[in-house]
């Protein structure tokens, strides 16, 4: 019998429902007392330390480029002195969290999708289940927790690096002491800038890990499906990052933190 062909809306609903159930399963297992700490630490090192060089270089370039490119516009209004404040707020509130999350989605999410997908298609996950190990708790929960905690830490470090790069960018034209630059940055930043960015970073990290694991756990159709899972993990995680960012902006606006 020929299978009935489904439309994209059906596929979307299936994907949404499947992912929601996957997230629910995560929360059911996330706080289990038999937590795989060793795997969790390993994943944190892989995802956090392993992503740090890429994130650091990207943050440095972002801070530098944003400063250099913003200077002429501010100079036109005679507001060059506002450059540190503008770059700091832009970097801390929006640019670094989103870009870091996207980098993590590309590096970590795709890696998880491919790794778990290949385990799935080679039936290693089934083998773990047979051997008495809970594959979801061992593979998914540790990974999702690791990204949920590591991405915010990466965002914090990346913000510091981007601000430092901005100081270098400012000094490329006119000398400005670090002390004055840092004072201007601290004066410009408010808790309402830092805390929302930090909180949404946890969500970004959660999405990166959850989508990567979900795509890995739902991989099908052999090795071809592994590549598709990795690709879909990046696309879906990136899209969800932007959606969460939009929601975060709306919520901070409602709370009067903008």
């Amino acid at each position: 019998m020929k299978a009935k062909r489904r439309g994209p809306l059906h596929a979307f609903l299936v994907e949404t429902g499947g992912f929601s159930m996957f997230v629910g399963r995560f929360f059911r297992n996330a706080f289990h007392r038999r937590f795989e700490w060793r795997e969790f630490v390993r994943q944190c090192v892989l995802n956090g330390n392993g992503s740090l060089p890429l994130v650091a270089v990207t943050a440095f370039i972002m801070g530098l480029v944003l400063t250099v490119q913003s200077r002429p516009t501010l100079a036109r209004f005679g507001a060059e002195s506002m450059l540190p404040a503008m770059v700091a707020v832009s970097v801390v509130r929006e640019i670094v969290p989103v870009i870091t999350a996207l980098i993590c989605a590309g590096k970590i999410g795709s890696g998880m999708g491919a790794e778990l997908g290949s385990m799935k298609v080679t039936e290693q996950i089934d083998a773990m289940e047979v051997s008495g190990t809970n594959p979801f708790r061992y593979l998914a929960v540790t990974r999702i927790w690791s990204t949920t905690l590591m991405v915010p830490l990466l965002v914090i470090l990346a913000s510091g690096i981007a601000i430092w790069a901005s100081w270098i960018g400012v000094n490329m034209k006119d000398p400005l002491s670090w002390q004055l630059f840092y004072q201007q940055v601290i004066d410009a930043l408010k808790l309402g800038d830092v805390l929302p960015a930090l909180i949404k970073s946890f969500f970004f990290g959660f999405v990166v890990g959850a989508v990567g694991c979900y795509k890995g756990f739902t991989t099908a159709k052999g090795t071809e499906g592994v590549g598709r899972s990795a690709h879909n993990a990046v696309v879906m995680a990136s899209l969800l990052i932007f959606i969460i960012d939009l929601l975060a902006v709306q919520i901070t606006d409602l709370l009067g933190l903008n």
Partner: protein, 323 residues
């Protein structure tokens, strides 16, 4: 096995670095907002706060000393602004300090400026209420600018009308742009220059002449400078005065004579004014003429008389001899 030991260490370094950075940032930002420092609360009341927000800075003599922690409307003409001022700075701020609203730079956010007021006062204490002073507000400046623009519009209209009038033919500006007039003026100026040269020459001559006169040269100089001539002139003038008196007397006599002539009854008056006498006189003259003709005729007859013939013949001879 080595990886198993290294992993937690690397992760610990990573986590601690990030956590430390976050804590430092939060502390610095929080301390700026006086979250970790002892503070003194004070309040001021403004008619309006012009965009001031909670968290805005409070400055004393240009130094950040606190933040605004509360803004509430008291009534339709008053807004109460609560401030948290660091205790270590509050001891320098007196209760006589005056609060004004200001801007952090040209495009910066609003803030509260505290300035020392008159009198000594006491250091700021919890719950102090400070006086306020209104400053030049942007809205006031814009209103003034609006009025200036309106005035400028009126002036521009008037200038435009003036320009139209100036461009209309037959006005004073035509004279200014008329090239022929300019040429005429140039010619007139040239003539004036020549006249001025002549005048200057005349002036020089006059000056020379006056100098000569003062020096007693020439007839006029002699007249002016010679004392003898002066005496003669005085004498002449005196004589002229005498003659004038005589003429006056003669004139008086003539006037009196004329009056007598004009007086009715006199011969002259009859000759001049009496028409009847003129007729009589004319008739007498006619008669006289007639009598004279008759007499001539008688005389011619008498010359032929033998009695007088000899006399006339002798007279004729003497005349011939005389020639």
């Amino acid at each position: 096995m080595g990886n198993k030991i290294k992993d937690p260490v690397r992760l610990g370094v990573f986590v601690l670095a990030a956590a430390a950075l976050l804590l430092v940032a939060l502390y610095l930002i929080g301390s700026k907002k006086n979250l970790f420092a002892s503070t003194v609360s004070a309040e001021v009341t403004f008619p309006q706060v012009g965009g001031l927000r909670t968290g805005s800075n409070v400055r004393y003599m240009g130094i950040n000393v606190g933040t605004v922690d509360r803004i509430s409307i008291l009534n339709d003409t008053a807004v109460v602004v609560g401030m948290q001022i660091r205790t270590k700075d509050a001891r320098y701020i007196r209760t006589t300090a005056v609060a004004t609203l200001g801007n952090d730079g040209l495009m910066g956010s609003r803030l509260v400026n505290l300035e020392p007021g008159e009198g000594s006062g006491t250091p700021l204490t919890e719950g102090a209420v400070l006086a306020t002073r209104s400053t030049l507000d942007t809205d006031v400046m814009l209103n003034t600018l609006g009025r200036t623009n309106q005035n400028l519009e009126v002036i521009t209209d008037q200038v435009r009308i003036l320009a139209i009038k100036l461009n209309t033919p037959g006005n004073a500006v035509d004279l200014l742009v008329d090239t022929l007039l300019a040429q005429d003026l140039a010619a007139a100026m040239a003539e004036l220059r020549i006249a001025a040269d002549h005048t200057r020459g005349i002036t020089v001559d006059m000056h020379s002449l006056l100098r000569d006169v003062r020096a007693g040269k020439g007839a006029l100089g002699l007249l002016v400078a010679d004392t003898a001539t002066e005496a003669q002139i005085h004498h002449v003038i005196n004589n002229l005065a005498g003659v004038s008196d005589s003429l006056q007397a003669a004139t008086n006599e003539l006037r009196r004579y004329a009056e007598q002539l004009n007086a009715p009854g006199g011969l002259a008056h009859a000759l001049v004014a009496d028409t009847g006498m003129a007729g009589d006189l004319r008739r007498s003259l006619t008669r006289l003429d007639t009598g004279t003709m008759l007499l001539n005729e008688d005389l011619r007859a008498l010359q032929r008389n033998w009695f007088f013939r000899k006399y006339f013949k002798e007279k004729e001879k003497e005349e011939k001899k005389g020639k």
